[in-house]
């Protein structure tokens, strides 16, 4: 039962990482567009996408955090205590990012410059901080309720940062290209090139990160030749196919493939340290709540999931799908 809850946890984390990760990437591209002199155009397209979905995407964080509370209370204590500096920093960035978004989207024009900066930078720092924190449980540096200081300067932690940033930039560009293809044709090419560039970066960064991780953690190294890595390889293949689709300007297909690829990679990756949840301190079984709670959690989550998926699809379709003519910003 705890394995089922663990799978739900990672489905939640993966959906958060993909959807909210893409939203963090939006911050990067909005900032980049300012430098490229395309500020207004790109920002409009980016926020056209971001506006309807950011709240729902961000909720996946609440979803997986609450799963941690309900199903893995012991892991909650360990992680909340050990990772407090990183989580705090990320929270601060979240708040700044929301404030900047409120100003950009609803506030007066004159704060646009500073809000764009604040939005872009807080998005990036938050993403980097989360990536940094996310590797701690597999890095072997958490002992008791504390993370050893060596973690902060370890190769695993430091290579996780650029990888996270490249991945969120990649995700954002892919989804924005698909969105722009439906609604903002003038900026499609810009996002297409951005996506291809970011995708190219992700590849070597993944290799470097994997080497660093295997070098640091014996247990992970031994598992690299195990069938457990199949989903991750599959994920890589999907991302590759997605890139090909992007090259051929099949934007929606590209977005679905790339998202599917990262999803497989993340959920698959979570099972590499199996049966550990926090390596080597806590196994999934040790971290789990009593059976009655797990059962309650699985019933609630299992029953709600189909409804949630249906409602999400309705939203993404309505807000992002093919628009009516009036929605299109025509190429001039």
């Amino acid at each position: 039962m705890e394995d089922a809850a663990f799978t739900f946890l990672w489905v939640g984390i993966a959906l958060y990482a993909l959807l909210a990760g893409a939203d963090f990437g939006v911050g990067l591209w909005v900032l980049a567009a300012r430098f490229a002199g395309r500020g207004d155009d790109i920002r409009k397209a980016a926020f056209g996408y971001f506006g309807p979905v950011w709240e729902v995407n961000g909720l996946f964080m609440v979803f997986w955090i609450v799963t941690l509370y309900a199903a893995f209370p012991r892991a909650t204590r360990v992680l909340a205590t050990a990772l407090i500096p990183l989580v705090l920093a990320a929270l601060v960035m979240f708040v700044i990012r929301s404030a900047a978004y409120a100003m950009l989207h609803h506030g007066p024009e004159r704060y646009r410059g500073v809000s764009t900066w604040a939005f872009g930078i807080s998005s990036l720092v938050a993403a980097a901080g989360l990536g940094y924190a996310a590797v701690a449980p597999v890095s072997g540096f958490i002992r008791g309720d504390e993370v050893e200081n060596a973690f902060y300067t370890s190769a695993v932690a430091l290579t996780a940062i650029p990888l996270t940033l490249a991945a969120v930039a990649h995700l954002a560009a892919v989804v924005l290209a698909a969105y722009a293809a439906e609604r903002h044709p003038p900026v499609v090419e810009w996002f297409r090139r951005a996506a291809l560039g970011a995708g190219l970066l992700v590849l070597p960064l993944t290799v470097v990160f994997t080497i660093a991780l295997a070098d640091q953690v014996e247990y992970v190294k031994d598992r690299l030749t195990d069938p457990v890595v199949i989903p991750m390889v599959l994920g890589g293949v999907l991302i590759f196919l997605g890139t090909v689709a992007l090259w051929r300007r099949r934007f929606t297909r590209a977005a679905l493939l790339v998202f599917g690829g990262y999803f497989a990679g993340l959920v698959g990756g979570a099972f590499v340290p199996y049966p550990y949840m926090v390596l080597p301190e806590l196994t999934i079984a040790e971290a789990a709540a009593p059976d009655a709670s797990l059962l309650g959690y699985l019933i609630v989550t299992g029953a709600g999931a189909p409804l949630l998926v249906a409602a999400l699809l309705a939203l993404y379709h309505t807000a992002l799908g093919p628009g009516r003519d009036g929605d299109r910003v025509r190429a001039t």
Binding site: G51, P52, V53, E55, V56, G58, L59, M61, V62, F63, I65, V66, T67, Y69, A70, A71, P73, R74, T76, R77, L79, A80, T81, I84, V87, L88, L91, V92, F94, V95, I96, S98, A99, Y101, A102, M103, H105, H106, G107, P108, D145, A289, P290, A292, S293, G296, Y297, V300, T301, G304, L307, L308, A311, L312, A314, L315, T318, A319, R324, D327
Partner: protein, 436 residues
């Protein structure tokens, strides 16, 4: 500052901030649904404009409300890891159900705000129903979790852990009915008065058109639906305290000795631990909590010093809440009496001023009520089982956290005001949602 105090202060500040947006998050969808309903039925421009204003206000408040909620949900574990570890198996599942309520609220709100062009008018309106239900459901669940902290049931307590959880019993704990009914009603009443206050202000400034009157009437209609449940809920909450949390009740009334036929002291100050300058209604408290003048009410003397909540803040919180409760009841009655019999009363500056004051004051009452609830539970985090002092994180960052987050809340408050003002001034073409 002592870490425990810093942790408690941070929790209090965060929740005090969140509850404003949460209450509006429960209430505003109902206002929008009502206004939009009238607009569609009567095909009336004025009501459409009203709907659109509320929708625009709401889109800004949601940004701030959501981030404040996310901060709290993470803070719970950062500040009180021991509490979350022990209580997680009991309260985690209800909270995960709450996540679904959030999802549906957020999804249908987005559909409502961005789907106008793609939905038929009534389907578009119907998106508000899940938004309303989602807000109500999330308030129900989180308050029932809080009620569980006040009257924990549904587990076996073994070696400091809550084992064998019975989740249904935990959610439907003894304090739940009073707290939930009272809080949900408070959210609607406060939102109704906030709306009335906005349009009352406009009327005081001389804009007395159909639009302003409609806005005032809309707010007061929402109040009309919920003010009775608010009173019933408060009364119920008080009686449940008598049964389940006598220490809190004793602190609210500063009842020093157990008494049969206890009086109700209204107003006044707590000086050197004594009630001074208040008016005491004989047998009042016994009548209220037991429906019988001979009811025995436990005094603070029944509890060892180390188990008593701090009396002054709890007592003052209760005084402020009930005083405001009385004032808003008067404002409410006067307005509807005017609508019914004395149209001239509706033009009176005094009535308008009272209604305008009721807007912010009902939020003050909500804050005061939570001070009663939360400080009245001290020194326990889970009443009778776990103390707040045992639950605090061992991290040394607690006081840093307090300062940083207090600063961030100030930033959020400023941004909220600036963004709201700008959003409401925008021309329709630049404005984000166009519902009408």
């Amino acid at each position: 500052m002592d870490d425990l105090l810093a942790g408690r202060a941070q929790m209090g500040i965060s929740l005090a901030f969140h509850i404003i947006f949460a209450s509006l998050g429960v209430g505003l969808p109902a206002l929008m649904a009502m206004a939009h309903f009238v607009a569609l039925k009567k095909k009336d421009e004025v009501w459409l404009r009203l709907t659109e204003r509320i929708a625009r206000t709401f889109t800004v408040l949601v940004v701030i409300g959501v981030i404040s909620g996310i901060v709290i949900s993470v803070e719970l574990a950062l500040l009180w890891p021991d509490f979350m570890e022990r209580a997680g198996p009991v309260i985690g599942v209800p909270i995960s159900l709450e996540t679904y309520a959030f999802f549906f609220e957020a999804i249908f709100l987005a559909l409502y705000l961005f789907g106008r062009d793609r939905l038929s008018p009534w389907a578009h309106w119907a998106c508000l129903i899940p938004v309303c239900l989602g807000g109500m459901l999330s308030a129900f669940i989180i308050v029932s979790v809080n009620a569980w902290m006040n009257t924990p049931v549904g587990f076996d307590y073994v070696d400091g852990e809550f084992r064998n959880p019975d989740l249904v019993e935990a959610v439907f704990n003894p304090s739940m009915p009073g707290e939930v009914l009272h809080m949900i009603a408070a959210a609607y009443v406060a939102t109704g008065f906030a709306c009335a206050a906005v349009y009352g202000t406009a009327m005081l400034r001389g804009r007395r058109g159909r639009y302003e009157r409609a806005g005032l009437g809309l707010g007061m209609t929402l109040v009309a639906f919920w003010i009775l449940p608010l009173g019933v809920g408060g009364d119920l909450a008080g009686r449940l305290l008598h049964e389940n949390q006598p220490a809190k009740l004793a602190a609210m009334e500063n009842l020093r000795e157990t008494e049969k036929g206890a009086g109700l002291t209204v107003g006044g100050l707590v000086i050197d631990g004594e009630n001074r300058f208040g008016i005491t209604i004989p047998y009042g408290l016994s009548l209220l909590v037991g429906r019988d003048p001979d009811t025995v009410v436990k005094g603070l003397n029944e509890f060892p010093e180390s188990e008593r909540p701090p009396v002054a803040p709890v007592r003052y919180g209760f005084t402020v809440m009930t005083a405001i409760g009385t004032l808003i009841a008067i404002g409410f009655l006067a307005y509807w009496f005017g609508r019914w019999r004395r149209p001239r009363l509706l033009e009176s500056r005094w009535l308008l001023r009272t209604l305008v004051a009721c807007g912010p004051l009902s939020f003050v009452a909500i804050e005061a009520g939570w001070i009663v609830t939360e400080m009245g539970r001290q020194p326990y985090i889970v009443y009778g089982y776990r103390r707040v002092s045992e639950s605090l994180t061992t991290s040394s960052l607690v006081d840093v956290m307090l300062f940083v987050f207090t600063g961030l809340y100030v930033l959020l408050a400023v941004v909220c005001v600036v963004a709201l003002r700008s959003e409401l001034k925008l021309t329709p073409e630049r404005a984000s949602p166009k519902v009408a």
